[in-house]
């Protein structure tokens, strides 16, 4: 699977939260597909790792789950963002943006440095 990057540590949770914010309540498979699609199929996501991550987020109270019915009439567990999940998302997104901005500045070929 060359050309596909593994998911950086700790970012899966952020991706899940962002997905749920964008699409509303969604089941695990939907979340996995969405993450892949959003990454432009550049990420290799082992779907199995998604479920412990979802459980962790649920234990922490960032998301909640309930059984529902999917588009094609299948019983599935739907996850939705909670209030505290929204707050966490906002906070982590900000942190992440900061980190990437700093890294970008380091990595960009700057004239002064040369």
């Amino acid at each position: 699977m060359s050309g596909k990057a593994d998911i950086p540590q700790g970012t899966l949770a952020l991706m899940v939260l962002k997905t749920l914010e964008a699409l509303g309540p969604l089941h695990g498979y939907g979340i996995a597909r969405r993450i892949e699609q959003t990454s432009g199929d550049l990420l290799s996501l082992n779907y199995g790792t998604l479920y412990p991550a979802l459980l962790k987020l649920e234990q922490e109270g960032s998301i909640a789950s309930a059984w529902g019915v999917s588009d094609n009439n299948r019983r599935a567990k739907f996850y939705r963002l909670t209030k505290s999940g929204r707050r966490q998302l906002a906070k982590e997104a900000r942190n992440w943006e900061q980190t990437t901005a700093i890294l970008a500045r380091f990595l960009a070929p700057s004239e002064e440095a040369l």
Binding site: H27, Y47, G48, P52, L55, E60, S70, K77
Partner: protein, 900 residues
């Protein structure tokens, strides 16, 4: 917050409820996931089989996902721990003999050490119950015979004025008063103190106020502070008593305060009230009248030694100023705690060491049990290893097993300890206990629990390491270390095969069996300690009293000075008491004394012999006042001259009796009869003529030396506070009620206390109590230690026989006699025992040196005791190895060989 929430949920996940629902939920969720994925794949044009394969592939395996999910849902470490714990408990239950032995042994060690530790903590570790207790010091005047003697009031006043070391210096002395209660007149104990007493201790009264400066001046109003218990029992705890009056020995006192319930001041037993010193009353104005003990707060930054130097300089100055009274009177400053617990410190430390040794034996015993068990579990361990269990995983299993064992033992030990502690407290006589207020409310407090936890942790470490030795094959390493010819590491295959003569037992042979030597050596140390203490106690009880203690009953009488203010009245009372006692049925004779025998070398007098050279030295002798029939009642021998008669009264010249020690010290090679003694200044009022010499009746405690003593007749020095002694023809205890009743008929206002027989009094005396309790407790430890070490030795020999069955079979098949087999087994036991005894005896002599202060009349290297211990242990060891030896000798060679 979030973390905590997650942890709680995961912890809850450990328990079965919801467990299966979670599993089926996840299964359904994954199934839905797969179906959706398969449908998508089908839509993308894959074949059905390929669609499914790809879906599962992308999920990364259903079981792996379930496992990862499960681990997230619970706490995996804790979960395996609980799993191991269940397994361990099942293992222990499967082998109840081993479990019971190990748990009971360990519980015994924990119980003994924790209960003794609680006492040590209460007496030596916990701070005194006053603010900044470390700046409190005991201040005493030291004399030749009294390293921490009492102060006189004038000396105290000078010390207080001249010192630069103390923020405050205060004194206290004993006091006793009669108080009228509905049930009759009661003597109550109190303290007479200087005005700053409570402020120096830093404890204010809970009600009213304490003494103010100047309340200990001449002519100050008589005020009293009550203890909480006196307030409760005299006034039912009424809060309006402040300012009211209470009559103590006929003198009205104003109640100004009540001390808090938990206030305690050791050294003087029960205290019901505090009054201030009256510096003009009694002998208080005289510098030779030592009746007070000092207590002070050090100034900030002043050390004990600088305070001591300061006070010694002042004492030297006073000695120069008042050579007659203050000759050789120095100063002694020590921490207040030391003055309170000084006497029992060595006892407690000895007991703590004893309990610690017992704990050590218990631990060693359990360790070797575990080691034996791991020998027999070699196959199980090998199988688990072969199935892929890592060393770490196996080690965790052992730790969990040790944990289960220790948890049971600790709980059992703690429960037993709390019982034992109450039992031990009840064994201490009430009077002795009153002197140890720090033992009040003794329970398993935080310190004791922390101590238990520390012991349990150490045990856990030891017991986890022991079976791991086996696991990690340290035996070979250990063997190389000692350069023993042990074959290199045994292989997994060997362990799986588990032949009865497996090489794996080398670890046991070279290390495990030697543990029993430690046990035996420790047992020797404890047995020797117990033997020495037991002999000391025996010697103490058989010390020469020089009177006959049987058939003697005694009680204390207190008459108030207000009711008997004049000497003639006191003399009449004294006479009436003796006369009334002597005619009671069953009484052979009756007598009075101002201080009973076997009390202390105290209440002394400084004397000089008239006509002998004298340079102002303090010739200290015990000073007692006794009635005419005293020595006949005691059955003490008169050696020369005559005893007192009824004629020796205040109208006649003053006479005294002296004891033999007095005659030996002051009249060597002379006949003392007719000689005169007097105070140092030869004041004519103090000149007395010696009329007789009596035997050295023991005035001091059982373990002290005999001091010279002088006896003054009651009729020449009448007393209002005295002890009545009667010799009975019947059981002495039975006459005590009749004595008290007869005394109340003389005067219902008399206070009567301390009704006891002489034998009981001697048995309950502090020195007897101290020696008895240490002898019994260390004896108990020693018996348990002997038992445990003999069990340990039995285990070792029995195991060795079971391992050598085949060897013995071969030997017998080759013609060895039964006697040879016996010898073979006994030789092994004898070596272990001999090593244990020799090492033990060496340690015992060293250890006994440390408890020399507890020994009385025996040397720390008492040969008889050491020999008896060695013989006892050798006999016990050989009898313990007889059983396995017999089993070995009755081995049937054919069966032993066929068993292979």
């Amino acid at each position: 917050m979030k973390r905590l929430r997650a942890w709680m949920l995961r912890f809850r996940g450990l328990f079965a409820t919801g467990h299966s629902r979670r599993e089926s939920d996840l299964a359904a969720e994954l199934e839905a996931h797969l179906q959706m994925h398969i449908e998508d794949n089908l839509r993308a044009g894959m074949s059905e089989e390929e669609a499914r394969r790809q879906a599962i592939l992308r999920l990364g395996g259903i079981e792996q996902t379930k496992q990862a999910y499960h681990e997230r849902a619970t706490l995996p470490l804790l979960e395996t721990f609980l799993h191991d714990l269940r397994f361990s408990v099942r293992q222990l239950a499967k082998n109840p003999g081993f479990a019971a032995t190990a748990i009971l042994t360990l519980a015994l060690g924990i119980c003994a050490s924790v209960s003794i530790f609680a006492f040590v903590d209460a007496a030596l570790v916990r701070p005194l119950p006053y603010p900044s207790p470390n700046t409190l010091v005991a201040v005493n005047e030291s004399a030749l015979n009294f390293p921490h003697g009492s102060l006189s009031w004038p000396d105290y006043v000078d010390w207080k004025r001249l010192n630069t070391s103390f923020r405050s210096l205060d004194v206290w002395g004993g006091s006793s008063s009669l108080i009228e209660m509905p049930a009759g007149v009661q003597p109550v104990p109190g303290l007479t103190v200087s005005a700053g007493f409570f402020r120096t201790l830093g404890v204010p009264p809970m009600l009213g106020r304490g003494f103010r400066d100047g309340e200990d001046a001449v002519g100050a109003p008589r005020n009293v502070v009550l203890s909480y218990s006196a307030w409760q029992s005299w006034f039912g705890g009424r809060r309006d008593i402040i300012g009211r009056s209470v009559t103590l020995s006929g003198v009205p006192h104003t109640i100004i305060g009540v001390m808090p319930r938990d206030f305690q001041f050791a050294r003087r037993g029960r205290v019901d009230y505090w009054v201030t010193v009256q510096p003009d009353k009694g002998c208080a104005p005289r510098r030779i009248c030592h009746f007070l003990d000092g207590m002070a707060r050090l100034r900030d930054g002043v050390t004990l030694s600088s305070a001591s130097a300061n006070m010694k300089a002042i004492a030297a100055q006073l000695e120069k100023q008042y050579p007659a009274s203050n000759r050789d009177q120095g100063a002694s400053i020590r921490p207040l705690r030391e003055s309170i617990v000084g006497d029992i410190r060595p006892v407690l430390l000895t007991l703590l060491c004893g309990a610690g040794l017992l704990l050590l034996i218990a631990c060693v015993n359990v360790s070797s049990l575990l080691l034996l068990r791991s020998e027999s579990r070699r196959r199980e361990i090998a199988v688990r290893g072969a199935l892929g269990a890592s060393s770490a995983r196996l080690a965790r299993q052992f730790i969990t097993e040790a944990f289960a064992l220790i948890a049971c033992a600790t709980l059992l030990g703690l429960a037993a300890a709390s019982l034992i502690m109450q039992l031990l407290l009840r064994l201490i006589p009430k009077d002795t206990l009153d002197n140890m207020p720090y033992l009040q409310g003794l329970t398993l407090n935080r310190h004791a629990l922390a101590f238990t936890a520390a012991v349990a942790l150490l045990a856990l470490l030891l017991f986890s390491v022991t079976p791991m030795l086996r696991l990690l094959r340290v035996g070979a390493w250990f063997g190389r270390l000692l350069s023993l010819p042990i074959q290199p590491r045994t292989s997994l295959r060997d362990d799986l095969a588990e032949g009865t003569r497996g090489a794996g037992s080398t670890l046991w042979r070279h290390f495990g069996s030697n543990l029993v030597i430690v046990e035996l050596a420790v047992a020797v140390v404890l047995l020797t300690g117990a033997g020495l203490l037991g002999r000391s106690f025996y010697r103490l009880l058989h010390v020469d009293l020089n009177f006959q203690p049987d058939h003697l009953a005694m009680l204390t009488v207190a008459a108030s000075d207000a009711a008997y203010p004049k000497n003639t009245q006191s003399a009449a009372l004294d006479r009436a008491v003796v006369d009334r006692m002597a005619v009671l049925p069953g009484v052979e004779s009756a007598a009075l004394t101002d201080l009973p025998v076997v009390t202390c070398n105290c209440n002394t007098d400084w004397i000089r012999v008239v006509g002998h050279p004298f340079h102002g030295e303090h010739n200290e002798v015990n000073d007692r006042t006794v009635s005419a029939g005293y020595f006949t009642t005691l059955h003490a021998r008169l050696l020369r001259g005559r005893l007192f008669t009824a004629a020796d009264d205040s109208t006649r010249p003053r006479v005294i009796l002296i004891n033999q020690a007095f005659a030996k010290s002051y009249f060597p090679g002379e006949d003392p009869i007719g000689k005169k003694i007097a105070a140092g200044d030869l004041d004519p009022k103090t000149v007395r003529t010696i009329v007789g010499v009596v035997d050295d009746v023991r005035e001091g405690s059982l373990d002290s030396e005999i001091w010279p003593a002088e006896y003054t007749p009651f009729r020449q020095r009448p007393q209002n506070y005295f002890h009545v002694l009667v010799r009975t023809t019947q059981a002495p205890a039975s006459i005590l009620p009749a004595m008290a009743a007869a005394l109340r008929r003389i005067d219902p206002g008399l206070g009567i206390t301390d009704e006891i027989t002489m034998e009981a009094r001697i048995a309950d005396s502090p020195s007897a109590t101290m020696h008895r309790s240490s002898a019994w407790l260390v004896g108990g430890f020693a018996v348990l230690a002997l038992l445990l070490s003999i069990i340990g030795l039995y285990g070792v020999i029995a195991y060795s026989v079971s391992q050598r069955t085949r060897e013995i079979g071969v030997r017998m098949a080759l013609g060895a006699q039964r006697a040879t087999v016996y010898r073979l087994i006994f030789k092994e036991a004898a070596w272990l025992t001999l090593a244990g005894i020799v090492i033990g005896l060496a340690c015992a002599v060293a250890a006994a040196g440390f408890m020399r202060s507890l020994l009385f009349g025996v040397h720390s290297w008492d040969i008889a005791t050491l020999a008896a211990v060695a013989i006892l242990l050798a006999t016990a060891a050989l009898s313990a190895s007889w059983l396995p030896a017999r089993r070995a000798a009755s081995v049937n060679p054919v069966e032993a060989l066929r068993a292979e």
